[in-house]
Symmetry: none
Subunit: 232 residues, 4 copies
């Protein structure tokens, strides 16, 4: 439930009452947030000033406080949006009732595509989450760390199904895999040589190899076969 419209000054007559819209124009606000996100992506949150953001959108810095109550609000909005979108897009995939390895591939694929599609916000989320106030951090991760939970669930199910190596430490493997995926934000460039589809498949291939059980490998007739089967 990406709640993109409810931000921006909860005070002021909201549109609920049907009166002609009051308060900041949400589209304009989104433009400003996008500009802020771009700057924070390039220079980091601390090194991005309110002045920078105002310059980027062509208004005076004082005017930004029509849309926002503090600089942190920008960060919150950026992170919240991307987090909510991820909840919506990725978590359901991990919770389907298909076999674990299929869900693993689907999860990795969705994650990679999501990261690339929301590259700016996703990168900021990963890099600057700690700059949020404790309250907001808490609020966002209220439901637990959903990525971690989702992936861990898949791996556990896989162990029960016998397709994931039972020697694995699931907790550890989960963070290792998520690290591998998230680190994409450090090196990915949209102008790079590899298409998102291929990249997702290659990630899935590596990760499959990392976790599959001997039994699953044999059943498929080798690792290559297993990859072919699952990466269609």
């Amino acid at each position: 439930m990406a709640d993109t419209s409810s931000e921006a000054h909860e005070a002021r007559g909201s549109s609920k009452r049907g009166r002609p819209r009051r308060g900041p124009d949400p589209e304009r606000f989104q433009d400003i947030v996008d500009a802020a996100a771009k700057l924070m992506l390039d220079n980091g949150y601390s090194a991005t000033s309110i002045q920078d953001i105002a310059d980027a959108v062509g208004i005076l810095k004082g005017s930004l406080y029509h849309y926002v109550r503090s600089k942190e609000d920008f960060l919150y909005r950026i992170i919240k949006d991307v987090y909510d979108a991820a909840l919506e897009e990725i978590v359901p995939i991990a919770k389907s009732d298909r076999p674990a390895l299929e869900r693993l591939v689907a999860f990795v694929t969705a994650h990679v595509h999501f990261s690339i599609r929301h590259l700016t916000g996703f990168t900021i989320q990963i890099r600057e989450f700690d700059r949020l106030s404790p309250e907001r951090r808490e609020e966002i991760t209220a439901g637990g760390d959903v990525y971690v939970d989702a992936l861990r669930g898949i791996l556990q199910d896989g162990q029960e199904e016998g397709v994931v190596d039972r020697e694995l430490d699931v907790r550890f493997t989960t963070v290792a895999i998520l690290g591998e995926l998230n680190y994409l934000t450090r090196w990915y460039s949209p102008t790079g040589p590899m298409a998102p589809d291929e990249m997702a498949a290659r990630f899935a291939g590596l990760i499959l190899g990392s976790v599959v059980s001997d039994k699953a490998v044999k059943a498929a007739g080798g690792l290559e076969k297993l990859r072919q089967d699952l990466l269609s």
Copy 2:
């Protein structure tokens, strides 16, 4: 050759002949750098002020300029030291003449141990490298990205030996693996439940599974066997 002692204020003016013109006490400087590193680890480079550092070592902020010409010098010193140490410790391992998979395991193991032993500096290097000036970034990475080169070399050799899957895109796999390893800086805690040795072995296990060829798996009698063989 980590040249950790030659930092700290090139002597000003001419240093006539062999008189002992020592410059700032290197041990004191190292203490200050360590304090700075701790703060930057906790709060990030931008959010760490010269005042914070001065407070941490118990002197006035102006006095820090006895050791350093700018705040960036601290960051440079922290990163340069850890970078040089890594060059010394890790790169040679990648260049030995043992079989590729052994070198892969050795590289991963060394990398994990190094990351943990130099956790503060290594984390800062990864997180704040871009805050360095372009000139210093260039200077540090003058010899190319040595981690990347080292790991890529191992994978390429492995493909030639037939023990690494020939379908792998080596370039991609290299950054994926390094991401997996480097992301440790985001979640590792020395008080966590897993000992460094085990962690290194588990990383190596995951990575082996990601890259081995079917042929190598069969030769070893399955993935589990192969892991056992290589992880002593």
Copy 3:
């Protein structure tokens, strides 16, 4: 064309169409610049702090950066204004088509009156020009040193007319005369005993004596006569 109104913070970002994006109030800015000039006149540029200026106008030092991007901007503005005004007031006089000695007297008179009327700015220009950045120095003197060129032109014309001593080294004489005039900024006081008109006449008298040819002296019937003729 003294473009005194276009200073003060080029508007940031885009100024969409014809909306009145005014930037800082030019009159307020001028007041601040005047206060800064007064301080720099008394204490010199280097010894005048942003704090001093802020105190003089009764705001906080940080607030000055609403009008200016650096302390040097104040100096630039002061010097640029007086330089432009001089261009407008003095140079045309040197370029009229009257006889050379008349133009010489007119130039000297105009210069003296100008110096006195713009005493603060003119003094700062002379004393602190070198504190400007190379780029700004260059920008201001882009059209050559107009005072020097103007006076040299008069002397050369005078030599051709035969009213200025042909033995004179025009280049040298030009700087000598300008030095004599500019040095006024070192000793002139508005509360002194001599009125600007008299001072201008006396300067002109001295300078005439310095440069006239024997021929011109004889034609006028002596130096005193010549001075009387030209200083009306």
Copy 4:
């Protein structure tokens, strides 16, 4: 009268008692003062730091306080030396018993040569005198402004002799001439095209023309003749 040796820490056993010399080496001190003077010439007193001076002589800034008690001491020493030297070299010339115009030429010539020979110190004296503390300013100019007094005396004598225009305001003319001469410090370069001798003669020629009486001109048979007579 140039009391160049009595500076540098009046405390400490002076050489008066015949004991092996104690206290700072005066030659070394002079080298340091020279270095300081060069820097202040280039960058101005305020913009020259103790650090700059220390760098220039290759010692640490703290060590300068062996020679000096404050930064102002450097300025004082530079100005005092040049002032004393001027007293010794120039004043006697103005006080000889030769005819006024000869003394005028001699004064101007001596002044120009002096300015050039002591260019650094003389320039600093003119430009930075006001940076000295009131006490030191007073101390230096205790005997009145000797240049002014000397030149004014010459002009007054000339008026009495009838060789200097009686219409002149002597006070004004004195500062005007001194301005003309002193401004040399603003444009003179030792690598310029004109030799000091010629420059002195040309200055004297201009100044003669400025002040001579009609009577003296006629007696000499014209300005040119008069100049030739006096400039040998």
